[in-house]
Assembly symmetry: C2
Homo-oligomer: 383 residues x 2
């Protein structure tokens, strides 16, 4: 395992200076013993006991407490992550590993990294490490890794659900039912079939591809924009057309799905100007990251009707404050950040975190695709 | 076109007795002139003007008024269908054609048929003619026809949406958002991936097949029960396994979808006893007809948790009264009857009704698959 700070730390312990070419995995082996591991998850309270497979919450603790403690490690788990007196802050100075999730993100700032003198490893239980200052983590020689692939199916399924919810105008129908109303026209006047519509995904990585595969039998016109054109055989199998230029693709779309990580390039990508160029009545699904959108520009375009529907589970920040404008804009079908934390997804990312911790204790490499920051370098999708 | 009463009516006009073997289409030609056509649709009020393609409502009148009137026919359209003083009642005695829809069903009882002395043709704008007493219609020599295929894609898409809404526990997440809450655990403890689950459809006709095709990329275990086993090639393409016995299939299913018409055989099919034998935590999607379920048995099983989620757009009766128990049972994701009346669906069934009226005026046959009652016989799915 390559871990600059682990190496530096090991060097300090050994009282020597590491030659730059030394294998870092050996360095980690040079730093054995009990580790302090901190996990920040959402709290389940009364829901914790309702499902024995519910491992993704504070109470479930990824199901790895007994395993960690039996090996002599210390495992602190909390949901208290904000402000100077929070539980997380008490452990910043001496933790070796921090496990976080995108669903209840502990924001790992440069300032926190600076104070975390023993920190070697940041693990994301799930996918998406933008709540971590990756540049600062790289500079500090930390390793950042995700459980790549753990919940891509979960998110892709959820995106297809949201496309259908918007296209078919589900929410007003449900609200009529619980209010005791019955007005078919009030739903039908803007309910459509998905068949025949143009769907474009911004990003066609693991999740985008799974979405396109699931969209194929719906007989849509499928488009994708990505840094990389797919292999022609895969493109044919999926039935989607590559679009080289984002702003050429977007105005063609009846439905746009965001499947790109949050980076400095994608932050605020959908601002007032870009939204203004979309087809009037466009539907947008965003399970990627809230900050890819300009919050107020989305709310304004929903109010004017330029965006006819917006659905997603990601917000900026999270948890969304009570006065977040997306809670109150018309034609939204939002939820809290949930798509990647189904019970099936939790079981997979809990197993992935355990595997990586095991590698870490043994000084072994992680699966290559899991690295987000390694040896001071960011993974390509974050560059 | 075969139409016993048209024939009898024509015979009366001609003052002769028709030989039983005479081609009925000729008989219809023998009864030319202006027809009185009544359409019963849902009213759109303020929504009518919001979409020029919104033809399925009273105001839109299927977009055939000018065409009908230019040919000298009379066209009455209303949503007022209940009680002795309703608008529909005023026209029962002299109408020739009645167009109805499943979304706002005009219940065509034996008693109404008896009083409709001039009636020849009952057209369903959409699919599903169970709001008509088909036996009485057959005995009276009426023709009943639907626009078969017009909205099967619309309904199948909607079913897949509802499967995902239930599996992934969407509704509590949405309600949190609009109430200003944020509690990921309260959703996640019972949110799952669709992948790997067993989905069974009761009925695999046009809609059931389209649903199975759309489910294929989700990597589920797909089962179907039907009167007829699919062609092996189609079965392989769809990837679903035939189940000969309904009660053998049902307890295997994590998710059950109802895709059978309402007939005397299917009415009340899901009663307390049958529901009791389903897997605990089963999810049910029913866009077929409300009366296939025992209303109270479904509500009770949702309350006990035996059914973990129920979603559909069909009720018994429609419109659903304010105190219908399905409005208030836990874990429901219901809407008014909407899945087959998307704008795309409306345009297709409006065109189909126009085509059949044109055939009727010209004494030509309808497409064979459209007939529900023809020459005194019910279509096979209603037998």
């Amino acid at each position: 395992m390559a871990m600059l700070r682990a190496a530096k730390h090991a060097m300090r312990s050994l009282g020597s200076t590491a030659p730059e070419a030394a294998p870092f995995s050996r360095m980690l082996h040079a730093s054995p013993g009990s580790k302090k591991i901190v996990g920040v998850f959402y709290k389940a309270n009364e829901y914790a006991s309702l499902n024995p497979k519910f491992v993704g919450c504070v109470e479930g603790s990824l199901g790895i407490r007994d395993w960690l403690e039996s090996q002599g490690h210390q495992y602190i788990v909390t949901d208290d992550k904000e402000g100077p007196n929070c539980e997380l802050e008490k452990h910043i100075h001496d933790m070796h590993v921090l496990i976080t999730t995108p669903f209840h993100p502990a924001y790992v700032t440069a300032e926190r990294i600076k104070r975390a003198k023993n920190l070697q490893l940041l693990l994301t239980a799930g996918i998406g490490s933008d709540h971590i200052d990756l540049k600062a983590a790289a500079e500090a020689g930390l390793t950042v890794a995700e459980v790549t692939g753990s919940n891509v199916v979960s998110v892709a399924e959820d995106e297809l659900m949201r496309i259908l919810i918007l296209v078919r105008n589900f929410v007003p129908g449900y609200l009529q039912v619980i209010k005791g109303d019955w007005n078919v026209a009030g739903i039908a006047y803007r309910a459509y079939d998905l068949e025949g519509k143009t769907v474009g995904t911004v990003g066609a990585g693991r999740i985008g591809k799974l979405l396109l595969q699931r969209l194929k039998p719906f007989n849509c016109n499928l488009l994708y924009y990505d840094r990389i054109k797919m292999d022609p055989a895969l493109e044919k199998e999926i039935g989607a057309k590559f679009e080289e230029d984002l702003d050429t693709m977007l105005p063609k779309c009846d439905i746009i799905v965001i499947n790109t990580p949050l980076t400095e390039k994608t932050r605020g990508m959908f601002n007032k100007e870009r939204i203004g160029k979309l087809k009037k009545g466009v539907l947008i699904v965003n399970n990627a990251r809230g900050a890819i959108m300009d919050t107020q520009a989305v709310a304004d375009a929903c109010s004017s009707g330029h965006i006819a529907g917006y659905s997603g589970d990601v917000w900026n920040p999270q948890p969304a404050p009570k006065d977040h404008p997306w809670r109150y804009m018309p034609n939204q079908a939002m939820t809290p950040h949930i798509s990647g934390t189904t019970i099936d997804g939790q079981l997979r990312y809990a197993a992935g975190v355990k595997d990586m911790l095991d590698c870490y204790f043994k000084g072994q490499e992680f699966p290559a695709q899991n690295y987000i920051v390694k040896e001071g370098k960011l993974a390509s999708q974050y560059q």
